[in-house]
Amino acid sequence: MATDQLTPTRSSGTAAPAPRTRWRIDARYQPVLGTVVVLAVMLAVGGSRYENFLTGRVMANVLINNSFLVVLAVGMTFVILTGGIDLSVGAVVALSGCISAWMFTHGWSAGITIPVCVLVGTLVGLVVGVMVHVFEIQPFIATLAAMFLARGLCYLVAPESIPITDPTIVKLSQTRWGTDDGLVITPSGVIALAVVAIAFVVLHYTRFGRTVYAIGGSEQSARLMGLPVARTKVLVYVISGTCAGLGGLLFAIFSRSGYSLTGVGMELDAIAAVVIGGTLLTGGSGFVLGSVLGVAVLGLIQTIITFQGTLSSWWTKIVIGALLLVFVVLQRLLVLRRR
């Protein structure tokens, strides 16, 4: 990542020459480490209990089935890193899907429809950013309003589920690249991975990304340091909205339909993935790769429950809730200990 992953303990202050060279994990990586451990345990448990669990096919499916969630979680990470929250992403996914379905049934080509449905998310994000920044409305309420707005628009665009028959989308949904033993990847998966890579570079290697972290650390300080706080804050919501628009496209490819009730509660999954991925909801600490791991944890929970067969689907929710509990309590303890 940005700085050395492992750093020796360093003397604080200047006077004390503490030559302790014991290698220790930087405090910033501890939450993510927790995620890695959980992931490893799940893989080990799954692999030992079920045959065919640790196969390329299963792992590829975790990514393919959750590619839209990966994109959403990446966008959400930006917002949460600044200390905000975005409740509108689930509704934007639905809106983007509905609009694409509506446009396809009205004869628009994929070349126009696809950019439009991503830009719809961008637009919603821009509106949210302006509400948060210019009118100083709390992100919670502003994105709540955007959520209602997007859902309402969905019903206007597509009161019923609209199937998508556009050849491009169909092709995208059916394409598989990979080996015969199941280690495959779909265009959606590729898009998701590309988004992760871009987000990683943007967050860690651009001034904008570093400003995102600075705002999460202390917005007032960032402002007094002369950083472009206003622009950055609006931009994170634009990014999250765009990711949601793109997520909506991926979901439309996945389900080959546009439906106004798509993605209900998906924002919670995205937030859960980010939190489980080790990002602090207070902002300023966390990694986009952590959020990807968080999505992987959520995906594996579902996979294990499917493999088990006897477990009912509602256990997914309960386990996610329990994991959330463990992670937020652990994060809290870490913060307390660091003080």
Partner: protein, 531 residues
């Protein structure tokens, strides 16, 4: 619009003219603010104030709390819009829309509470917004190297990759200055930079400041420590109640005169303030009301012993951050002690919460009135009865009539203005908020009153009244612990003085007419070795 460097306010006959530093004499001021007026709803925060900064000087901005120092700084850096007046930087009139623009023009500010991001590394804090980039992307190695060079330039040898939060406040302050220098600041504003530093750290900071002055940087230094101002500054501008008192050469202005100019009262009033609280002879009881035996808390304050008898005022002297507040908080149960014993009236007691202390008639008035004292949106009445109400629990609401009685009594006795119990407490002036807090605590009939900086940031009149009240309360048999950064005040009121340094109680003085501030300062400086 340009201002000639020799323009001197005509109503300032004692204007000493140009600074005597030779390299500054012939130069144009790098910043010239003229006739600056800033209005807030209902208040004129600044009224026609001038300020000139020359390259290579340390200029002190002096004034009491509320004189308009920080407003002037914020007007310069574009945080506040200026209603009238001009700001000329390098000969051109400028208006900054915010700190970012001011920074771009070479004016950087380091604030009292270090405004950096402690979740990021030192290197990032120094370089944020100016990172070394390669092909548009941040080059972390290069950035760290650049940061290290900038840090070295200030003789600061710390690892740029370490997290900022792992360093002491003093180092963070220096990092903030380092950041200011990265942008090639030609004007550096230091707003109360020393208030949380110890003597050595202040020296270190001053070394850096002198070095920067030598490099031609104009430094605007704001501090309420007179000694430091005289140690470092070349010239000073004095403000009072939002107006300009004058511009002086530090060497030409004796301390007494400076204080008079800042306070703006005739000597009569000053004498009255001197006279106000007479230290009464201690008629202390036989048994201390509270007795701390090796009481301490890890990372907060080393174990200490302290007795406070009924009817006496124990002053806590020491620099900011010396552990005065921490000691008081342990006695109040605001923090929990982890070693030692506390006895209240001879009984060993564990104070786990403020409530427990309240039940034993111990109260604590915090130094941060805004964040730990007043409940801003509640009324004066609700604020005053809050302590009483908390003690009774939520079920037993204080009857309206009784609340009115209590409130009326203290509004009258302490002279709270406006005398309207339904006024919103947050809208009161600092002095009156302090009185509301005192009323809250006095209403609970305490036996031990812990006062942490009760007179900070309030006007002289209110200050005298509060001092008088403290003396009276002790006379009536209350035990008082009095904390103040102003040694004179501590000396005037206390029967005994506990001296603090580096989070330790280093000694105790029995106060008498022969004890002077110098004795206390000596004790602090020597660390109690020869006391």
């Amino acid at each position: 619009m340009t201002t000639s460097p020799t323009a001197i306010p005509p109503d300032q006959p004692d204007q000493p003219g140009e600074p005597d530093r030779p390299d500054a004499r012939d130069r144009e001021p790098v910043v010239a603010m003229t006739g600056i007026t800033v209005t807030f709803p209902g208040v004129k925060a600044l009224d026609g104030v001038d300020l000139r900064l020359f390259p290579g000087e340390v200029h002190a901005l002096m004034g009491e709390n509320g004189a308009g120092k920080s407003t002037l700084i914020k007007a310069l850096t574009g945080v506040y819009a200026v209603d009238a007046g001009t700001i000329v930087v390098d000969g051109t009139a400028r208006t900054f829309a915010g700190p970012a623009q001011a920074q771009a023009a070479g004016i950087s500010t380091v604030y009292q509470e270090v405004n950096l991001c402690d979740n990021l590394s030192v290197a990032e804090n120094v370089m944020l917004g100016h990172e070394v980039r390669r092909a548009g992307l941040v080059d972390f190695r290069g950035t760290r190297r650049a940061a290290r060079e900038h840090l070295r330039a200030l003789n600061l040898d710390i690892d740029p990759a370490s997290t900022l939060s792992s360093h002491s406040l003093a180092v963070q302050q220096l990092v903030a200055i380092c950041r200011a220098m990265v942008v090639d600041a030609r004007v550096l504003i230091l707003d109360e930079p020393t208030s949380s530093l110890d003597v050595d750290e202040v020296e270190r900071l001053f070394a850096v400041v002198r070095d920067l002055r030598g490099r031609g940087v104009a430094i605007l230094f704001v501090s309420h420590f007179l000694e430091q101002v005289y140690a470092i500054s070349d010239r000073m501008t004095v403000l009072r109640n939002g107006t300009l008192v004058g511009e002086y050469r530090t060497a030409d202005l004796p301390r007494v005169e400076l204080v008079q100019k800042m306070i703006g009262r005739s000597l009569e009033v000053l004498e009255q303030l001197e006279e106000a609280p007479k230290r009464v002879a201690a008629e202390r009881g036989v048994q201390p009301y509270v007795q701390a035996l090796g009481l301490g808390r890890k990372g907060s304050i080393e174990p200490f012993d302290l007795d406070v008898y009924p009817g006496e005022v124990v002053g806590l002297a020491g620099l900011l951050g010396s552990g005065r507040t921490e000691l008081a908080r342990l006695l109040y149960g605001a923090d929990r002690s982890d070693v030692g014993e506390l006895r209240v009236e001879g009984q060993p007691t564990r104070l786990r919460t403020p409530r427990a202390a309240l039940a034993r008639r111990i109260v604590y008035s915090s130094e941060s009135r805004k964040t730990e004292g007043i409940i801003g949106d509640l009324t004066v009445r609700e604020n005053i009865v809050l302590g009483l109400q908390a003690e009774r629990g939520w079920l037993r609401r204080i009857p309206q009539r009784k609340a009115d009685e209590v409130v009326a009594q203290y509004v009258e006795q302490l002279g709270i203005r406006p005398a309207d119990p339904d006024a919103i407490a947050g809208n009161l002036s600092g002095g009156n908020q302090q009185k509301v807090l005192l009323a809250r605590w006095l209403a609970t009939q305490p036996r031990l009153l812990l006062l942490d900086e009760p007179t900070r940031g309030i006007d002289v009149g209110a200050k005298a009244e509060i001092q008088r009240l403290v003396a009276e309360l002790a006379e009536q048999g209350m035990a008082v612990v009095f904390i103040s950064a102003e040694l004179e005040e501590v000396l005037r009121l206390s029967h005994r003085i506990a001296v603090m340094r580096d989070r330790r109680k280093i000694g105790e003085l029995v106060n008498g007419d022969d004890v002077t501030t110098d004795d206390v300062v000596d004790l602090i400086a020597s660390g109690g070795q020869d006391a």
